[in-house]
């Protein structure tokens, strides 16, 4: 029989249709036949440790999670022998797990062990619980491990080894009483654990649990052990008379009561562009935990920020009332006063200097609806196209590269396509730290499914370590190697000719433009050997589907748009568009950096990337809004700063962006702020930027409002309100509405849904978007057609140009805007850290994160350290042509030679990377060339305390292995399958 062929089998006498090769347990579950199962989880796949899922197949006992449909088999999950094996296995589980559900924080209706035992109907387990001889490990800031409650199912290990692929956890099967261990047996809090929380999320019981749940979930949790011990003993003493099912019933009742104690709200992560969605569990304002399960992008996955980094919501640094500048300080004021002051000043400035004297900057942290309103405020109410958002700092060049070549500025497909590709190329992205959950999918496919991985980067970061080929081009020369490889492929007849003929235009011009990129020249410019370039070309042409992921290492250069274009050109030449499992994936940085642009906060584009230069478009929006619109493109962020300096821009309304720290060349930016006549800053914190404001408006973060975010896959997802706005703070859409109305807009939006309805009525790519279609974990990937069907994979029916064909785009190489010389002799690379988001204004509020990563540091190569006599903790001053910073050194072989790395997680001018960066920009989009930076170094003190605490995960030593190694369990002399009673004292 052929794999995948449809076939009928029987389960407990019922006919079931399935496919050859399908996992038996999936079929049993689909046909809703009761079968205990603890270690099996669809996302993780079969682990085969718990033994509770034994069924009889053609009179043989097998694990349902370890058997595949192979013929018209007869399956019995309820035969006496299957039942006996299941009960034996459950009894063994209870030997390893004390049932005190009513007292347990995990008794929330979704405890896998509880539910399995309850469903099995077992009355009296055969074996008594026996605690393990190990202490509870509470050393990790975010979770704790109780070995005595651990049933050794290995779900956590599987998740850590093969899903997150951090390779920290294993089960030590050699111990008399096995347990989970971290690295080679160190404490969790001193291990390589990155705190992603996968293990805690998938643990079927309370052995691994979030510390924030302890003593909070449940009515009897958190009692002192002087109370709980006798209570448990009492219940046990009663058990011979009552059986465990009655105890289960009582605890189930208690778990239902928890429904009113704990509120569960679906939300979307507010950090990076991966767009993980999950439920957040709250009790009053306390955040008990984040529970990922059904997110379309992430399933059970998260990184440390999304899982544990929510303390900022209740931070005492939250702004809770509007503030207005008053002499040398700010004073609290009412909303009425703040709004009418802003409206009066905006009117006055517009009256004196015209609408274009005002500028508006929307935020990639805010919702789509808020971005839409912000641009509507600028255009339809104030009358200027001076509207932009912070994607200008990172993503615009990637979008430009795609507009030029394929016509749509978004990821070609979904994360599942990245996962399915035969080859993934990552350029200028430390995906494991900047887009952690996307990295998990790549690491998993690479580790388990033979996916190939090529990484081009200056740093030997985690993805580079794992790569099959690691390229270290000279800074700023990615375009050259990409073009060189493309030329080699074309010249050697390795291109996808059929694809080129039928789907691509401008081939000749483009090929002519590759002339300068012969292998010899390419190798000379990039420093990559010819052999390696050929090797890369061969990998690309022999792969089944190529995906290229890139990020700021590409875009933040003066040729950022061009390099992004070169990536897309390469994909076109090799036919890697328009089908699943391939394409281009600019990895969007912020949670809603995609949506902020999608919904029109751009100086030359209306919502849905409709061009302002097209009179038909403008006329349409004028009809929609009932106003005359300004027709000329406005200023982008970068131009706004220059316009302030030149005196033409006098007022700025900026939302949710610490532009005074994150824009390049901050001295220049901050001195511009000083010149503004009106500066309104809307934020949740008193940021560096807010210090320059005339009025500060307290906004509400994502958990306190409704709306939608769009992730890097163009996926629109809803967030629901979990908490009330803190103090006087308000959701941004409400604040923008108030300002609009004070300026005479007469808006009556009652909810974000009404705003979305308006946007989708008019913007073509969102036309089928409705809140109804986005209920719960449902999502839509734009473009969305009127009938509500969305587009997970782009370009299936051609490219977004009138001809339907893609456009190859000729390029030439331009030298980086700043290179090292004799004086400024070090190249500074910069970017994110896993645990801090951006400059860290949200993540530093998490005690657990900041205790292990208290500040930024400068990564220095061992070679440079030797040359300059540096050690961990040396303090140095870096001086660029614009400014200087003082930072502590960390020696690391992630960087090489005279290249150093300064992460951007600093909140003060003293160590902020952007005190060094220049005002040079990408030629096409004005994205700052953050990555083109030369400095000189001065040693201020040779010795000092290491900036990285010992318990930081970077100091841990991973323990890679393939999953939980269940074979080691089966090989133990005290193990027998549960068709027989366990050996005395055995597993």
């Amino acid at each position: 029989m052929e794999y995948g062929q449809e076939i009928s089998i029987t389960i407990n006498g019922i006919e079931a249709t399935c496919r050859v090769g399908e996992l038996l347990i999936d079929v049993v579950n689909r046909y809703k036949q009761t079968l205990p199962q603890i270690c099996y989880n669809e996302v993780l796949g079969p682990i085969r440790t718990c033994d509770t899922c034994f069924v009889e197949v053609d009179s043989k006992l097998v694990r349902a999670c370890d058997s595949r449909v192979s013929h018209a088999m007869a399956v019995l999950s309820d035969s006496p022998s299957a039942k006996a094996a299941q009960i034996e296995a459950i009894s063994r589980v209870l030997h390893n797990h004390d049932l005190y559900c009513t007292l347990c924080e995990n008794n929330n209706g979704n405890c896998v062990i509880h539910n399995t035992i309850s469903a099995s109907g077992i009355k009296h387990p055969k074996y008594e619980f026996e605690a393990k001889p190990y202490e509870i490990d509470a050393s990790h800031p975010f979770y704790r491990y109780d070995p005595s409650q651990c049933i050794l199912c290995g779900r956590c290990v599987e998740a850590c080894q093969d899903l997150q692929v951090n390779e920290t956890l294993s089960i030590d099967w050699s111990l008399e009483r096995p347990r989970v261990i971290w690295d080679d047996g160190v404490l969790a809090g001193e291990s390589s654990c990155v705190g992603c929380g996968h293990c805690v999320t998938v643990c079927p019981c309370n052995a691994l649990i979030e510390k924030s749940m302890l003593g909070e979930a449940g009515f009897l949790s958190g009692l002192p052990s002087s109370l709980t011990t006798p209570m448990i003993a009492l219940t046990k003493a009663a058990e011979p008379a009552t059986g465990i099912q009655s105890v289960m019933a009582i605890s189930e009742m208690e778990s239902r009561l928890r429904g009113s104690q704990i509120k569960k709200t679906k939300t979307v992560c507010t950090y990076c562009g991966v767009g993980c969605s999950f439920e957040v569990w709250t009790k009053g304002r306390k955040i008990l935990k984040v529970e990922p399960s059904d997110g379309p992008t992430n399933a059970v996955s998260t990184c440390v920020k999304g899982k544990f980094g929510w303390d900022y919501i209740n931070s005492k640094e939250r702004l809770t009332t509007p503030l207005i500048r008053d002499g040398e300080g700010f004073r609290e004021t009412s909303w009425d006063e703040a709004i009418s002051y802003i409206a009066r000043r905006m009117r006055e400035i517009k009256g004196e200097a015209g609408a274009d004297a005002l500028g508006f900057i929307s935020s990639s942290k805010c919702t789509n609806e808020e971005s839409y309103l912000m641009q509507k405020l600028a255009r339809a109410v104030v009358g200027t196209n001076n509207i932009d958002n912070c994607s200008r700092y990172c993503q615009s060049p990637a979008t430009m590269g795609l507009w030029r070549t394929v016509g749509i500025g978004g990821d070609s497909g979904s994360v599942t396509d990245i996962e399915a590709a035969g080859l993934v190329i990552i350029i200028g992205s430390n995906t494991a730290e900047s887009h952690p959950v996307i990295a998990t999918r790549i690491k998993r496919s690479h580790k388990l499914k033979g996916q190939r991985l090529i990484v081009a980067d200056l740093r030997r970061h985690e993805m580079a370590e794992r790569a099959d080929i690691f390229l270290h081009p000279k800074p700023g020369t990615d375009l050259v190697w990409l073009s060189g490889v493309t030329r080699y492929i074309y010249e050697n007849n390795l291109a996808d000719q059929e694809f080129l003929t039928s789907k691509v235009e401008n081939l000749e011009n483009y090929i002519a433009s590759l002339e300068p990129f012969d292998l010899e020249t390419t190798s000379n410019i990039t420093g990559i050997s010819k052999e390696t370039l050929i090797e890369v070309a061969n990998e690309i042409v022999s792969a089944k589907g190529v995906v290229i992921c890139w990020a700021m290492g590409v875009t933040q250069h003066n040729g950022g748009s061009d390099t992004s274009t070169a990536i897309s050109n390469l994909l076109l030449i090799t036919g890697n568009y328009g089908k699943p499992g391939c394409g281009s994936y600019p990895l969007r940085g912020h949670n809603n950096v995609q949506g902020a642009s999608d919904f029109g906060s751009m100086p030359a584009m209306m919502p849905g990337y409709e061009k302002l230069s097209d009179p038909v478009v403008v006329a349409k929006w004028e009809r929609q809004w009932g106003v005359d619109l300004p027709k000329t493109a406005g200023l982008d962020n970068h131009e706004m700063v220059d316009a302030i300096h030149s005196g033409s821009l006098k007022a700025l309304y900026l939302i949710g962006e610490d532009m005074g720290l994150v824009d390049a060349n901050i001295n220049h930016v901050q001195s511009a702020f000083e010149k503004l006549e009106l500066f309104v800053v809307q934020d949740i914190f008193f940021s560096k930027t807010a210090q320059f404001a005339d009025v500060i408006l307290p906004a509400s973060p994502s958990l306190e409002k409704e709306g939608t975010f769009t992730n890097t896959e163009r996926r629109i997802q809803r967030l629901y309100q979990a908490l009330e706005p803190l103090g006087e703070s308000r959701p941004d859409w409400k604040i923008i509405t108030s300002i609009g109305n004070a300026l005479g807009a007469n808006w009556s939006y009652g909810s974000p849904e009404e705003i979305m309805d308006e946007a989708s009525r008019c913007a073509e790519i969102f036309v089928g978007v409705t809140y109804g279609a986005l209920e719960g974990f449902s999502s839509l990937q734009w473009p969305v057609k009127p009938d509500g069907s969305d587009t997970p994979v782009l370009f299936l029916d051609g490219f977004a140009f009138p001809s339907g064909k893609a456009q190859l785009y000729p390029l030439e190489f331009i030298e980086p805007s700043e290179v090292t010389d004799d004086e400024f002799d070090l190249h500074v690379n910069n970017g994110r850290l896993l645990e801090h988001f951006h400059e860290g204004n949200m993540t530093y509020k998490s005690q657990g994160i900041s205790s292990r990563t208290p500040g930024t540091f400068l990564e220095v190569s061992p070679e440079l350290a030797k040359e300059r006599n540096l050690s961990d903790g040396s303090v140095v001053r870096l001086t660029s042509r614009r400014g200087a910073v003082k930072v502590s050194v960390l020696i690391s072989d992630r960087v090489q030679g005279r290249e150093v790395y300064l992460p951007m997680n600093s909140q003060s001018n003293e160590s902020a990377i952007n005190a060094l960066t220049s005002s040079h920009t990408d030629r096409a989009t004005h994205t700052p060339a953050y990555k083109e930076l030369a400095v000189k170094m001065e040693v201020l003190s040779a010795k000092g305390k290491s900036p990285l605490p010992k318990n930081n995960f970077r100091n841990g030593v991973r323990n890679p292995q393939m999953g939980v190694l269940v074979e080691s369990k089966w090989e133990r002399s005290d193990y027998v399958e549960p068709s027989q009673p366990r050996k005395d004292g055995g597993l």
Binding site: T229, P230, S246, M253, R285, K316, E317
Partner: protein, 135 residues
């Protein structure tokens, strides 16, 4: 010209973190769980106890629950003082448990005879109140 105002620190009223009147009350009560439980019983009582009723359809479970209910001596009222009762009541039990061996049924039963201990344990498994009203 608007220079940065660096030294300003926005005021923060900690009471804001306690969401509503009731929650504020809870925060002030060392026995906050009592209030939470009361709320939960009021809001979800009937729905939650239905699980017991469902389980009661199974004769052996019904027997078990009845045994357990009898064993614990059903509690009457929920009372904020109960938690204290529970504490003192159970510390008596812990004395027996202090010795390594498991307590015998009779030993446990003897400690249960004290009204305070009974009340305490009833609080400990306050859901029993729900069972009481159904059975």
């Amino acid at each position: 010209m608007a220079k940065a105002i660096e030294n300003y620190k926005p005021e923060f009223d900690e009471k804001l973190l306690i969401q509503d009147e009731l929650a504020r009350l809870v925060e002030n009560l060392s026995t906050s769980k009592v209030t939470e439980l009361l709320n939960a019983l009021l809001e979800n009582g009937p729905q939650s106890t239905s699980v017991i009723v469902e389980k009661m359809n199974n004769p052996s479970t019904r027997q078990g629950i009845e045994n357990l209910a009898r064993f614990l001596g059903l509690a009457g009222q929920l009372d904020p003082k109960l938690l204290r009762g529970l504490q003192s009541g159970l510390s008596a039990t812990s004395e027996i448990l202090g010795s390594k061996r498991s307590p015998t049924f009779m030993e446990l039963f003897r400690t249960m005879r004290s009204a305070e201990v009974r009340r305490g344990i009833a609080m400990g498994l306050a859901f029993v109140a729900g069972i009481g009203s159904k059975s």
